[in-house]
Symmetry: D2
Subunit: 485 residues, 4 copies
C-alpha cells in the first residue's frame, strides 16, 4: 500500500470519528477543532516529508517485515545507521514544527515490543513475537500512527500496584476468555493520542511475581469501545481559539496531551503481546524507555534549533546582534543544543543488534542523552528569554494592534532596527514566548523533564549500566591493592 | 491622614476611573475586571498588612518627612535596618501573594529621586529637592501607590536617542512654557500601572550633552490627559476569565503589565524633578536600579517560598516525600532561594547614607543580588517541574472534573496518597504550573530576568564597582612586582 | 596584658618547643622550618593587624569578659555588628595572605563552647560555664592562639562509635580521677595546630545515650605530654624547601595541616567543659559548625580577591585585558566571590543572642553560605585557569631562568605585553598555580569542600532549618485545601 | 617493519640521546630519569597495546599508504569507524594510564597535514602532499612517535606577529637556501616532546598576506641541532623523585611538558610541508585543532573513568558507598564523563572524507566536544574531592607510615571499613589527589582547559559552524515574515 500523504492521513483519522472531552465538553470532529488541528498538522508533516523531494530519502526505508517501502516512523531499525537516521529525522521534524510531532512513541514502542516478544517466546514458549510481526506488518502496510501508552497513574507512589487502595491506578487485566482479555485502568500523558489510529499499551515499570495482572502489553484501535479520552490543558492553550492568530506564537503547529481511560476494554488475543510474564515487564520498560530517551536527542534538538533561530532573529530585529554578550549567548545555546544532539547520535552509533534482529541503542548513553535533555532546554529557554527582552512578558495583544487608537501607538513604539515590520517583531517574540512560557513549553520544557521518564529514572539506569566494578578493578590493578573491598 | 486599608485603596483607584485597552478593546471599571482584579488585590495586601496585627510593626514606619506614621512602601530609608526591613517585608508579600505586588517600584524610585535631586541642586543650583519633598510628603500623607516608569522602547538598540528614526522611542520634552513642560514617548513594562495613583517617570539610561531633551524626571496622576494604557498579555492570562477558577493556579493574586504612552502630556513645573541636567540621568538610573535590584532579593525569594511549599506539598500528595532524591531537590531549592535572600540582606546591611540623608544599598552587592535572580528562579522552576511530575503539562481542565462522565474518571485515576482530595492535588499542580509556565511565570521568570534591567546591565555595574585595581595592587605587593602594568 | 605583635607571637610559639613528625622525621624548631614558617607568618599577620594603623580598629575590641582590649580573633561576639566585623576581618586576612590564617577555628570554638556550657549548666546543673569563662579570660589576657579540634577519624562511617573495631577512632575518655580525665584518640585536619598555644577539643557529631565516653570537650596546651603531631602533606609542599623561591607561588604565606594524636593525655578538671552530657554534643557541633561555616564567607572571599587580582593582572600582562570574553570572566569571578561574601554578611547580620549572652549566626544562612563555598571557589579556580593560559601547567622552573643557557630563551620567549618583566609574569602565574593546583589549593579548594564539614552536612542542616511546614501551610491557606496531608 | 614493543620504543628513544634542561640543569639519559620515566612509560603502553591479545585488534590497522599493518596512533583515518576507533582507543589508554599518553598529537597533526597539503597543492601547484606521504610512510614503517608542535609564545596577544617587539615569538623562516630553510622561534606546551622521535611544526593561527614568514610547516628529528628543550614544572612533580613512592599518587604513569626552542634550525626541503602559503595556515590550524578536540572526547574520558573508579573505591573504603548522596555523586560523575564520550563519538561518526581521501571529524561537534571538556572534568574533580574527604589535603606523608613512632598511629587512626589496609586507602587517596590537585591535574584539568586551544577558540568555531542563517530562515518561513532582516 502506498505511503500516505499528510492529507490522506488526516482524512483517515477523521474517518475514525474519535470523541473526547475537550475543555469539559464531549466533542467530535476533532481534527478540525482549532485546539486540536495544530497537533494533527504536526503529525501530518511526518507523512508529507516521505513525499517531499529533499526529505524522502531520509523518511523512506525498506521494511524487512513487508519488503515494501515504509515511512521510517514505522521502521524496525536494522543498523546503527538506521538508529542515527531516526535521530536526524527527528531533529528535522522538530526544527520544522517547533513542537512535538507525536509519532515517535509508536516507533519506539514497536522496536521494544519486537525484541521483547522474541525474548519472551524464548523464555516462556509463548507465541507473541509472530503475533506482533503480523500486527506491525499491518501497521507498516497501512502507514498508520500508533500511540505508545506506558504511564500509569500510579496512585500512592510509596506503594506497589497490589497495595493500592484502588488497584486500577495500574492498568490491569480484569477478565479473560478464550477470545481475549478485558483490561481496566488509565494511561496518562498520551501525547498525540487523538491523532493516532492505534494504541499500544505497555506496563509502566518492572514487576514481580504476584503482579501478573499488571504485566500486559497489547494494541487496539483508538476508536475501540470503552476507551475514553480527556484532553489535557496546556498553558496558553486557548490562544489557539482566538480569532487573530498572532498571539498563539506558533501559527501552524502544536502539541496534544490526553488522559486515556480504559473502562473494561476487550482486547482480542491476536492483539495481546504480553500477559502475565512479569519478568519481561522490566525488560520492555527499559527498552522502550531507552529508544524514547534516544528520541529526545533528536526532536528536542530540532525545537532548540528553532528557538536559537528565533533568538538570533530577535537580536537582529532589536539591533543588538553585534553585541559580544549576545553573540556569546547564542554560541552557548548552540553548544548546549549540539551536546544533546551528540548524545542522540552516540547512543545510536554504538547501538547493537538484539537477538530478535532489530537494533537497540546503547543503554547507558541513551540514558545520558535524556538526562541532559532534562537540563539543557531549560538553560536554552533562559538564554532565549535573556536575549528576547522584557516584551516577552508585557507585550500588548494582537487585537490592540488592529485597534485604530492603539494600533498606531504599537507601530510607533515597538519599531526597532531598520527594515523590521513591527508585526514581524511581535511574531518572533510570540514564538519565543510560546516555547519558553506558552503552549510550546509543555513539549519543550515539561516533556523534556518527564517524557520517557523523569531524571531519577535515568540516574538509576546510569548507575546500573556504568560498570563501576571494572573502573574500580583498574584502580586496584594500577595501585597494586590487596585489600578485600 | 490615616493609613488606608486594602478596601479604601481599591476604592481610591476606582475613583480615578482609569481606562485602558484590554485585549484590544477600550475598557473601564478595571478594578472589577477579572483580568485586572487579581493584580489590584495583590497591591491591596500591602495596605492590609499595615493593619494586621502580626505584620503592622514591619509595615509601619515613622516618616522623617511628615513626622507621621506611613506605610513602609512609601518610606525613605533611614538606616541599614530600614533597608533590611524593606527586603523582609517584600519577602513576606511575595510569599503571601505568589506574584508581583507592584508597589516596590515607586518606593525605589522615590529613594533614588530623593538623593539625586539633592545632588542635582548641589551641582546645578536647581530647586528640585524641595519640590520632591513636597511631592513625596503628599504621597505619604495620602498613602498613595506610585508607579516608577523607566524603560523606554529604545527603538534600534545600536543607536543613541537622537539618532533614532523616531526620537520619541525615548520619552522626551517636546514643548515647554512657564507653567510646565510637555512630554511625548512611551514607557514599557509598567508593572501595576493601572493600580497606581501616580506615575513617576525617569530616564532610561545615562545621557550626555546634546541629549537634554531626554533627561527628564517628573510625576503626574495616572488619569492625566494624554496618557494611554495598553494592557499587556501574559501567558495563560485568559484563564482568569474562566468561570471555574481552578485552572488559574493562583486563585487570588496575579500581576499586571502595561505599555504606557505619553501623547503630549503636560506636566506642571512643581512636578518636574529633572529637566535637561544630563549628568544626573545616569546617577538616577543607577540608584533606582540598585534599589530595585535589592528588591528582587526579597520579593522573588517570597515567591520562591511559595513554590518550595507547593513542591513539598505535591511530593507528600504523590507519596514520594521520603524519597532521598526528592528531599535533596527540596534542599537545593531552599539553598538557592536563601542565597538570593542573603544577597538581598547583605546589600542592605552594608548600605550607606547619601548626602541627602536617606540610605542607599551597597551598589556592588545589589547588582550581585539581581544577577543571581536572573539565574536561580529558573533552576527552582526546573526542580519544581521535576518534583511535580508530568501532570503539570497534561492534566485535564477543571471543567472535566465537573463533567458527570469524566469527573469520576479523574477522581478515580488522579487519586494519590491517602487523605488527599483529588481536587486539592489539582490545585497544587495548577499553582506550580502558574509559577513555572503560566501567568505567574511572567513575574517569577521573565521579570526576574529583565526587571530592574537585564543581566548584562548588572554585569557592567559589577565590573565597575569591584575595584579590580585594589585587587591587583595586593598581588603586586605580595609578589614584589616591578613591572609597569 | 598587651596585645602581642606578630614577632612576640612567633617567639611565644617558639618557647613552647613543639615537636612533630615532618616528612617522616621527628623535627623541632618548627617556626623556623621553611615548610612551617609560611604558615606561622600567616598567623602572625593576625597579630600585626591589631597594631597597624589602618586595621587596628577592626581587629581590636573590648572584651566583656576581661574589660580589656583584645584581638577580635579571641572575641565573644556581642552583636550582629561584631559578627559582621568578624567576616570583614577574615576577608581582609584572606586577601592579605592568600591562604588559611588558621586563627578562626579557636574563635569559632570559643563562641560555641561559651553558649553550650551555659545551656549544659542550665540543663544538668554542671559548672562548665564558669570554668570556661576563666579559661577564656586567660586566653584573651594572653592573646593566645587556640586550635579547635573536632574531626575524629571515624573509622568505618557506616558504624556508630561504640560499634567500631577500635573505639579510639572516636576520641574518648579512657580514665578519670578526682583531678581530671585521661583521653585517647586523634583529631584529623588540624589546620594550624603547630602554630597554636592551646588545643580545644570538641565531639565530632551528635551523640546518644550509651555514648557518654565520646561526649567530651576540653582544652590543653599544645605541648602537653602524650600529644603527637604528624604534619600533613600538601600538593607541591616541598617547593617551600627550594632555594629559589619563585616556584612556591605565594612567597610569604601558606597553610599547615596536622594529624593530632592524643595518646592517653591527662586533662585537669578545670579544663574540662563537657564530660558525658551526650545531649549537648550535637548542640556544640552544630554551633561550632555554624560559626565556622560563616567564617568561610569571609576568609575564602579574601583568597578569592587575590585570585581575581592575579587573574586580572595576568590578563593585562598577556595583553588580553580588553578582550570582551576576558572581561566577562573576571566579572563572573567577582560575582561569585561577592555572592559568597553576601552569604557571610547575611548570616551575621541576622544573628541573634544566645541565652549565654554572646551572639550566634543565623543557622540556616550560615549553612547556605558554606554550601556555596563548596561550589564557587571551584568555578573561580576554573576561570582563573582559563584566563591564565596553558603556561600554568608547562612553565619551566625558576632554576632554568637562572641558567645561563636557558635563561635567555625564557626571557625572550615568555615576554608578553610591553612593560612586563618576564620574571613578574612568571610570579603571577606561579601564584595562580599555587591557588588552583598547588599548595594553596588545599585551603582554597579542598578545605572549601570539607572544612567545617562536607556539603552533605550543610544540606542536612538546611533541610532541618528551612521550616518547610510554614511554606506548605501558606500554600494550603492560599488554595483553601482541606486534604489531610 | 614490525610494530615496536614498548621496550623497543624506549630503547629507540634512548638511542636519540636527547638532552634537556631539567629543573635548571642540563640532563641526559632522560628515559631513566625518575622525573621523565613515568611519561615515557605512558607512551610505551601505546606500543604494548598493539601486541596484547585483548587490545591488538583495536590498536592495529592496515595503512593505505604502506599496505602494511601499523599502530593506529600513526594511522590516516579512512572511515567514520576509524575515527570512532581512535576515540575508543584513547579512552582505553586514558583509563589504563590515568595521564596523558602523548601520542595523539602527532596522529592528529598528520591527518591535518595530509589533507591540507593536498589542498595546498591543488590551490598553488606545490608538491607538498607527495613529500608528506613519503615522510609519513617512513613514520608508519618505523612505528615512530611524532610530536605535533603548534603553540607559539605569541608575545603581546593584542598584536599581530609582525607587530611584535621580537617577531620570533611566532616561529618563522629566517633564512632559506636551495637545500632547505632555517627557522627560529619556540613552541610552548609540547606534551611528550622528549618521548618523541620527530617534531612536526605547524603555524599557530590563521595568517594573511604579508605574514608569509610565519606560514611554515615542517618535520625534523627531535635530536636536530639547534633545538633546545626546557622541561616544564608540574605541581607536585618532585614527588616523582621521592624514595618512597606512595605519595606520587600514580605509581606508574605521568605526563611531560616541554618548552621547545628552535635556535636557527635547518630543515631540509623534503621535510617542508608549507612555506609561505598563508591561506592554508588557518585551514591547517582548524583541522588539526578539530582532530585534537575530538581526541579529548576519548583520552580525558579514560582518565575520568579512573577517577570515578577511585572515587567509588574510596567510598567503599570509607564505608559510605551505600549513602544515597554518595551514589548520586558517582552517577553524576558517570553522566558527565559519558556526555564527553558521546561528543567524542558523535563528531567521529558524523565525519566526512576530505578531498585527499582521509576522514575528517565533524567540525562543529568536535568543538562542542572540547568545550565540554573545558568544564566537566572540573566538576568531576570537585565531586571526587567531595567523596574522598578532607584527608585529601591533610594526610601525613608516606615516610611517616614507615616511621616506627608515627606509623602505628597512622595504621590505628586511618583504619576505615573492614578489610581495608590503611596503606591501600592512602594509595587511593593519593591517586585522587594526583588527579585533582597534583601532577595528574596538569593533564586532567589545565590541559583540559587549554590543550587544543582554550574555550574561547572553540566558541568562535562553534559560532562559525552553526549555520545560524538556516535556523533564522526556518523561523522566517514558519512565521511568514516579510521584514528585511
Amino acid at each position: 500500500m502506498a505511503l500516505k500523504t499528510g492529507q490522506e492521513y488526516v482524512d483517515s483519522i477523521k474517518a475514525l470519528n474519535l470523541k473526547a472531552n475537550l475543555m469539559g465538553a464531549q466533542a467530535e470532529g476533532l481534527p478540525d477543532n482549532p485546539l486540536v488541528s495544530p497537533s494533527i498538522r504536526a503529525v501530518g508533516l511526518t507523512f508529507d516529508c516521505a513525499h517531499a523531494e529533499e526529505t524522502q530519502e531520509l523518511f523512506r526505508v525498506v521494511s524487512p517485515l513487508t519488503g515494501g517501502e515504509v515511512n521510517r516512523f514505522t521502521h524496525l531499525h536494522q543498523s546503527p545507521q538506521d538508529l542515527m537516521n531516526k535521530v536526524i529525522m527527528q531533529r528535522y521534524c522538530g526544527h520544522a514544527t517547533g513542537c512535538c510531532f507525536q509519532r515517535c512513541v509508536g516507533m519506539d514502542a514497536a522496536n521494544a515490543v519486537y525484541s521483547s516478544t522474541f525474548d519472551c517466546d524464548q523464555a516462556h514458549g509463548t507465541g507473541y513475537h509472530r503475533r506482533f510481526i503480523d500486527y506491525w506488518s499491518f501497521i507498516q502496510d497501512n502507514d498508520l500512527v500508533v500511540d505508545g501508552a506506558m504511564t500509569d497513574p500510579k496512585g500512592d507512589r510509596s506503594k506497589r500496584p497490589s497495595a493500592q487502595a484502588d488497584k486500577d491506578v495500574f492498568l490491569r487485566v480484569v477478565d479473560r476468555s478464550p477470545e481475549g482479555i478485558v483490561v481496566r485502568g488509565a494511561k496518562l500523558h498520551q501525547t498525540g493520542m487523538l491523532n493516532s489510529h492505534e494504541i499500544m499499551v505497555m506496563p509502566t515499570m518492572s514487576l514481580k511475581n504476584g503482579e501478573e495482572e499488571f504485566a500486559v502489553c497489547f494494541a487496539v484501535p483508538t476508536n475501540t469501545k470503552g476507551i475514553h479520552y480527556l484532553y489535557g490543558r496546556q498553558t496558553s492553550d486557548t490562544r489557539k481559539l482566538e480569532e487573530i492568530g498572532l498571539d498563539v506564537g506558533n501559527p501552524l503547529f502544536g502539541g496534544q496531551e490526553v488522559m486515556t481511560v480504559f473502562d473494561n476494554v476487550f482486547v482480542p488475543l491476536e492483539r495481546v503481546f504480553l500477559d502475565g510474564e512479569v519478568d519481561l515487564a522490566g525488560t520492555l520498560v527499559e527498552r522502550f524507555a531507552a529508544y524514547h530517551r534516544q528520541s529526545y536527542g533528536g526532536c528536542k534538538v530540532g525545537v532548540g534549533d528553532l528557538l536559537i533561530g528565533a533568538s538570533a532573529l530577535i537580536a537582529k530585529m532589536n539591533g543588538v546582534d553585534q553585541a559580544s554578550h549576545i553573540k556569546d549567548k547564542l554560541v552557548e545555546m548552540i553548544h548546549l543544543n549540539e551536546t544533546l544532539f551528540s548524545c542522540g547520535i552516540a547512543c545510536s552509533t554504538l547501538g547493537h543488534p538484539t537477538p530478535a534482529g532489530n537494533y537497540e541503542v546503547d543503554m547507558l548513553l541513551a540514558n545520558v542523552c535524556k538526562l541532559n535533555v532534562t537540563r539543557f532546554p531549560y538553560e536554552l529557554a533562559r538564554l532565549a528569554t535573556d536575549i528576547a527582552g522584557g516584551l516577552l512578558g508585557t507585550m500588548p495583544p494582537a487585537q490592540a494592534l488592529d485597534d485604530p487608537q492603539t494600533g498606531p501607538y504599537i507601530r510607533k513604539y515597538l519599531a526597532a532596527a531598520q527594515g523590521v515590520e513591527v508585526v514581524d517583531r511581535m511574531k518572533v517574540l510570540r514564538l519565543i514566548e510560546n516555547l519558553v512560557a506558552g503552549a510550546g513549553s509543555v513539549a519543550y520544557l515539561i516533556e523534556s523533564m518527564h517524557g520517557a521518564g523523569p531524571p531519577q529514572a535515568q540516574r538509576i539506569m546510569i548507575g546500573r549500566q556504568a560498570d563501576l566494578e571494572a573502573k574500580m578493578a583498574r584502580v586496584r590493578d594500577l595501585l597494586g591493592l590487596t585489600s578485600r573491598v
